[in-house]
């Protein structure tokens, strides 16, 4: 393997918080992959495994028991929802981050490379998107498109690429003055070739770090939208949706404030740990790639 990457890997594994983040992430990955084994869907909803099974007809939440280790909320098994919700979290995070980062890279690099009017127009469009408050925009968009997880994801992509575009634009503006870019032009490398082979490899690391940080926060955003009732349909395994069920029970019962703690703690913990994992990894990557910290 390459020396440079070996050195980076070594540095990564020397960083305890990075390793912790990675362990958490691996744990979530395993849970997501083995969800059908950890929480096997009942025969009745085999074809819709993402729907949390209804396990009781009593509308009150039930505390954790042997059968339902995380308890029951809104008649549905929380454990099942948390396990299968891991898949939902990954899906939202990866797809939204991936697509919005690609859009951002495309717009930002074109804007920076060509400059002039193209830059001006693209950046003003970016400004317009930035000036719209995200939650309101997402609510409006989901109202237009209809509710649903995919609609939420579309809203998050449409209003999520601007940060990447600005970041990569700034970096490319700096890098395009380097002489190796001029040298590539003198050789006759095409514009896409210069951007892909010369500019992006030298500017993309901050974007990757930002993307990994965003991966976590996107899950929170999706949860907020689910909590507001815009996201997943009733009964869909999604951490935000499970929290949404807890809305009525959050204040506890009369005289017992913490009576229904399990309706919030289990999905909440899953979400916090998921976000933490991505943030720790992003932080560690930044420490590794930041040349100012390089010895």
């Amino acid at each position: 393997m390459d020396k440079e990457y070996k050195r980076m890997l070594k540095k990564f594994f020397k960083n305890p918080s990075g390793v912790f983040g990675l362990v958490l992430l691996i744990f979530f990955t395993i849970v997501a992959i083995f969800a059908p084994i950890i929480a096997p869907p009942q025969p009745s909803n085999q074809y819709e495994p993402y729907m949390m099974p209804i396990v009781t007809w009593s509308p009150d939440p039930q505390p954790p028991s042997k059968e339902h280790p995380f308890g029951v909320s809104e008649r549905r098994d929380i454990f099942y929802g948390v396990v299968w919700g891991t898949r939902t979290a990954f899906r939202i995070g990866l797809i939204v981050t991936g697509v919005s980062t690609l859009i951002g890279l495309f717009i930002g690099s074109i804007s920076a490379y060509y400059g002039g009017w193209i830059d001006e127009i693209l950046m003003r469009i970016t400004d317009i998107f930035l000036s719209i408050p995200f939650l309101i925009a997402a609510i409006v968009l989901t109202t237009l498109l209809g509710t649903g997880l995919d609609k939420v994801m579309i809203a998050m992509i449409v209003f999520g690429w601007m940060g990447t575009a600005r970041l990569i634009r700034g970096n490319i503006l700096q890098a395009k003055e380097e002489q190796y870019v001029l040298a590539a032009k003198a050789i006759g490398v095409s514009t896409p070739g210069i951007i892909i082979r010369h500019l992006l490899p030298n500017t993309i690391f901050p974007v990757l770090i930002q993307a990994s940080m965003r991966m976590g926060s996107l899950v929170i955003t999706a949860a907020i939208l689910s909590f507001l009732g815009l996201g997943a349909p009733q009964g869909y395994s999604d951490w935000g949706a499970i929290l949404n069920y807890a809305r009525n029970w959050m204040l506890g019962a009369h005289g017992e404030a913490l009576k229904y703690w399990y309706t919030i703690v289990f999905p909440g913990t899953a979400m916090v740990l998921f976000v933490l994992a991505w943030n720790l990894i992003g932080d560690t990557l930044r420490d590794i790639f930041d040349p100012r910290l390089r010895i």
Binding site: K3, E4, E120, E178, Q179, Y180, L182, A183, A184, K185, A186, I187, G188, V189, S190, G193, R197, H198, P201, N202
Partner: protein, 391 residues
């Protein structure tokens, strides 16, 4: 060696080359001023020679090099390579039509067929193309330049290459040496197989004095001198005719500098290269050049064979430059010509002769009229009304 070749047609001719950079300000990015980096420059480079281009920093030397390679589009003027007008390939596509109209078509339209003989050589060639090949059809004439533009630009890139100043920023830190050099092979499809490409890279690495194994390494593993060798290899793998060396040794250690200069001289013999050697360092220029052009504030003030220029400079600016060369002899008392003031801003250059505010022999006419670059002695052109007065 250049003396005999010089009588031939030049390999590269530059006529009235102008490069102005706009300064933009305000929300609407209005152009508020122009930096006149290169402001009407004429020179020729003959096959096999080394033309040194010398001047202080900010005088436009590098801009000339970049413009010749098409890295900056020229604002005005023409560049001919082996007699062919290559300006349309240096300009962005949307400017080609207006360039051709301005330079050729408008002149040809007012022309009677029998007047063709009186045209200057450069125009005559294209007048023939215009009237004979294209039957005076402007559209066809323009299209002939626009067809296969990409291929023609690529072909031009194979003929002209550049070696950059900074060995640290001129190599992509994330690419292996083999790919940095081999990229040119890929772009121009010079190799039919991976093995052939590898062999080409290995060959050129050996030619510039490096081991072929270095192809697997990254730029940060090399010293400044080695990096400059890699930069030279990258330029030479396309087998160019003309190499623009833009301050190619300025960033190097003195001890390494002579190594690289000698390498460049050896390569010049081996590959029959022609150099445009840009430098601010007179000793380097003196070492490597056959002829030398001296620039001041976007203009060439003197151009002459090296020997003549160093023995008897005719332009007052050249005289003062020469007097600044240190002579390692404590007994030698030399008359130093120290110029007053600073180089004026190229945004707003002085009227008339650009050198007149600092010139020790300036007279009234100098601030009024711009002296043309005229041949004063054989092979020695000077842009001064009082050439030779100070030497």
């Amino acid at each position: 060696m250049s003396q005999t070749i010089q009588k031939n047609t030049p390999m590269l001719s530059v006529r009235n080359l102008v490069k102005h950079f706009p300064i933009r300000a305000g929300i609407f990015k209005r152009i508020v001023a122009w930096v006149k980096a290169v402001d009407g420059v004429d020179f020729d480079i003959y096959e096999g020679e080394t033309l040194g281009l010398v001047g202080e920093s900010g005088c436009g030397k590098t801009t000339i090099g970049m413009t010749l390679l098409g890295l900056y589009p020229p604002t005005d003027g023409s560049v001919y390579f082996n007699g062919e007008d290559i300006t349309p390939y240096l300009l962005p596509g949307w400017k080609v039509r207006s360039y051709l109209k301005r330079t050729y078509i408008e002149k040809f339209k007012q022309l009677n067929h029998d007047e063709m003989e009186e045209l200057p050589d450069e125009l005559k060639h294209y007048a023939e193309v215009y009237f004979n090949d294209h039957k005076g059809d402007a559209g066809r004439f323009i299209r002939s330049f626009m067809e296969n533009r990409k291929e023609k630009q690529k072909a031009l890139r194979r003929k002209m290459q550049i070696v950059f100043q900074d060995p640290y920023s001129s190599l992509n830190p994330r690419m292996r040496i083999g790919n940095i050099i081999g990229e040119a092979v890929d772009v121009h499809r010079l190799a039919s197989s991976k093995e052939e490409r590898q062999k080409m890279v290995a060959d050129i690495l050996q030619k510039v004095g490096l081991y072929p194994e270095y192809a697997m390494r990254y730029p940060h593993e090399f010293s400044g001198g080695q990096r400059q060798r890699i930069g030279i290899a990258r330029a030479l793998i396309l087998n160019p005719k003309l190499v623009v060396a833009d301050e190619a040794v300025s960033a190097l250690d003195v001890s390494i500098r002579s190594q690289i200069l000698n390498l460049m001289e050896d390569l010049q013999k081996e590959f029959q290269l022609t150099y445009l050697f840009i430098s601010h360092d007179l000793s380097v220029i003196k070492h490597i050049s056959d002829r030398v052009a001296v620039m001041y504030l976007g203009k060439i003030v003197e151009i002459a064979p090296k020997k003549k220029l160093f023995e008897r400079p005719l332009h007052p600016y050249t005289v003062s430059l020469m007097s600044a060369i240190p002579i390692p002899d404590p007994e030698h008392k030399k008359k130093r010509v120290i110029l007053k003031g600073d180089v004026p801003s190229p945004i707003n250059p002085p009227s008339g002769c650009r050198f007149h505010p600092r010139c020790p022999i300036a007279r009234e006419i100098c601030s009024r009229e711009e002296p043309p670059l005229q041949e004063v002695e054989e092979g020695q052109k000077v842009a001064c009304f009082f050439a030779g007065e100070m030497s």
